[in-house]
Amino acid sequence: MTTATADLAIDLKGVDKTYTGGWFQRGVHALRGIDMHVGRGEVFGLLGPNGAGKSTLVKILMTVIRPSNATGLVLGKPVGHKPTLARVGYLPEHHRFPDYLTGRQVVEFSGAMSGVPARACRKRGAELLDFVGMGRWADTRVRSYSKGMRQRVGIAQALVNTPELVLLDEPTDGVDPVGRREIREMMLELKRRGTTVFLNSHLLSELEMVCDRVAILVQGRVASQGTIDQLTTHRKRYEVELESSDSHVDSKIREVFARWIPAQATEGTLPDGSAVSFRIEAPHQPVQVRVGSVEAASVQPVIDAARAAGLTIRSVRPIRPSLEDLFMEAVTDPLTGKTLGPGAKEGN
C-alpha cells in the first residue's frame, strides 16, 4: 500500500481481539492482526462468512467493542478517539430504534448525539428522510414500520451529521429490490460527494456494483484485499467453445492441441506463455478450451488451429471471475477443497 496516511479514512495495523470466555469456557480469538486500508472517498466492501469477525471489526471502529490490541487511525485519529465519531456515521446490523420515537425523532436524536445543532438537525433530518423515501412516514412511530422502512430510517440517521466516513452494516437487509437500487445509488451519490463508505454486506453482487475496493475476512484474518480488478486480474481468461461432428472428438482435440498440450494431459502452455486447457463433458457435446490470458492476441493461435482442423467455433468469450468466485476461493481450504466452517477459531 503506497497511499499516504493522510489520504486514508481508515488505516488499521494489527487489530486483534480475543473474547475472554467464562469460568469454564475458552476464549475466542475473533480478530488476528487485521491490517486494512480504506482510502478517503472510496466505497469499501468487507466480505466474509458468518463469524469471520466482520461485525467485531466494525464495532471496534465504532468503539462498541474494545480491541485487545489495535494500532491504527480512523480519519487521522487513533482508533477509539471519541470526538472523531462526530464525523462518522454508523448503521449497525440488527439495529433497534426506540419504538416510542417517530422516524424524524430517531434521525434528530442521532444528530443531537453527534453534536449537530438543533436547527441544522431538523433541516438535514427532513432532507434525508425525503432522500431515503421516508418523508411521508416521518411522523409515524417506528413501532409501525416494516423492516425495510426501519432500514431506510437507519441510513438517514447515519448520515444526519454529514459524515466524512459512513459505516453501513448490511444496509440492504430487508429492503425490497427497488429500495436496494435506491440505496446503491445513494452510496454512489455519497461517493460523488467525497464521503467514504465502508460497507459490510453478504450480497456480493451488490458490493460488486458499488465497491471500489474490497477485503475478504476469513476466520479473523484478511484473506485478500484490493480493488476488484486487482483481485481478479490473474483469474481472468478466455473461453473458446468448439463443436465437432466427429464422434472421436477427444482424439481430434488432442491432435489439434498436440503442439501445446502433452499427450494424456488436459493442460499446457501457449507460445506466449499463457496457460491453455480443455474440458470434454461428453461425446457430441461442445468442448471448452480455456486460455489463461486477458490479451486477445493470446487466444488467436487456438482459433487458428481449430479452424485449420475444421472444428466449428461456437463462441469466444472473455471471462472475468465474479466477486462470488473470489469469495468462494477465499473461504475454501486449498488443501482439502472444503469450505471453511462458520465462526472464529477458539483459543489462540
Partner: protein, 409 residues
Amino acid sequence: MFLRQTSAMLLDAYRELNAKKLFWFTVALSTLVAAAVACVGLNDRGFTILWWTISADIFNTKYVSPAAFYKLVFVQLGLKLWLTWIAAILALVSTSSIIPDFVASGSIDLSLSKPIGRLRLFLTKYFTSLMFVTLQVSLFTLACFLIIGLRGKLWAPTVFLAIPLVVLFFSYLYCVCALVGLVTRSTIASLLITMLFWFILFVLNSGEQAVRTFQYSAELQLATAEKQAAPLADQVSKAKAKVEQLQIAPERETPDDMKTRLSDLATEQARLAGLELRQQKKESSVKELRTSFDTLTLWHRGLYAVKTVLPKTAETMTILERNLHSLDDMAAFREAEEKRVEERREARRQQRGAKPDEDESPREARELADRTIEAELQNRPLWWVLGTSIAFEIVVLGLACAIFSRRDF
C-alpha cells in the same frame, strides 16, 4: 456538544415516559389522591369529608389547626403511603426496563457509536431515568402545596423538600435496579431483585426498630430492678446487724429479758431470711435482665452496623417530617396529642388506684418506649441517614459504571 447531548437524552427520557401508559396512570392516581386530600376538612367537631362530618377526639379545630392537619395528611398519607410505597412501586415497574432496553443489542451500538464517553453516557441515562419519579413527586407536591395553602391558609414551601427526598429515596432502589439490569439485561430480573432488596431493607429497618424498642424496654426494666435492689441490700445489712446485736446477751440479763431478746432474735432472723430470699430473687432477676439487655444491645449493634452500610429508606423520609414538625403549628399539634395521651394515662392510673409516682403499667411502658424510639429514629444524625445512603448509591453506581465502561457490547 455537552449541553446538546444532555438535553437530547433528557428529551428522549421524557418521550420514553410519555409513551408509557403506566406513567399517565400514575399521574391520574396522584391526581385522585390529591383530590381526596382536598376533600377532607376539619371543623370544631371532627373532620369532614365533602359535606359529612365525622366526630373525632383529636382531629378537630380545638386541638389542631387546619394547616397542621393538612401537613399531617400530606406526610402520613401523601408521602409515607402514596409516594414512598404505591407510587414508588409503580415507578419501579415503569422504569426497570430502561437500562435493559438501553444495553440491548442493536440499541446500545447506536449510543456507543456517538462522540460521548461511556461514563457520561451511562450516568446521564441513569439520572434521566429518575425523571419519572421527579415529575410524579413534583406534580403531587405542587398539588398538596396548593391544598395546604388554599384550605389550610398556610403557604409552606417546606413541603417541596419532598421532591429531592423522594427522588433520593427512589434512587437508593433504582441504582440496584440499574446495576442488575446492566448485568442481566433482563427487566424481570432487575425488577424482582430490586423488590427483594427493598423488602430486605424494610425487614432490616423494622427489625432494628423492634430490637431497639425491646432494648430500651429492657434498659428501663433493668434500671427499675436495680433501683429496687439497692434499698433491699441496705435492709438486709441492717437486719444482719440487728440479728448480730440480738445474738449477744447483755451481762446482767434477767430471764424475762432473755426471753424477749430470743423472741426478737427469732423474729429478726425470720425477717432477715425473708429479705435475703427477696434479695436473691431480685439479684437473679437483675442478672437475667442484664443478660437480656446485653444480648439485645449486641443484636442492635449488629443490625445498626448492617444498616449503616445500606440505604436508609425510612429514615430518609422522616427528614421531611422532622422539618415539618419543627413548625410552630405542628409543635402545637404534638403538644395537644401528648396532653391527650397524658390525660388518658392519668385516667387509667386513677382507675387502677395507683399513685402518680408509681411505676407505669407494661402497656404504658411500651407506649413510652415506642414514643422514645420514634423520637430517637427521627433525630438520627443527618450524615448517618443521608451520608451513608448516598455512599451506598455511589458504590453501586461506581460498580455499574465500571462494568458499563469495560464491557464489549
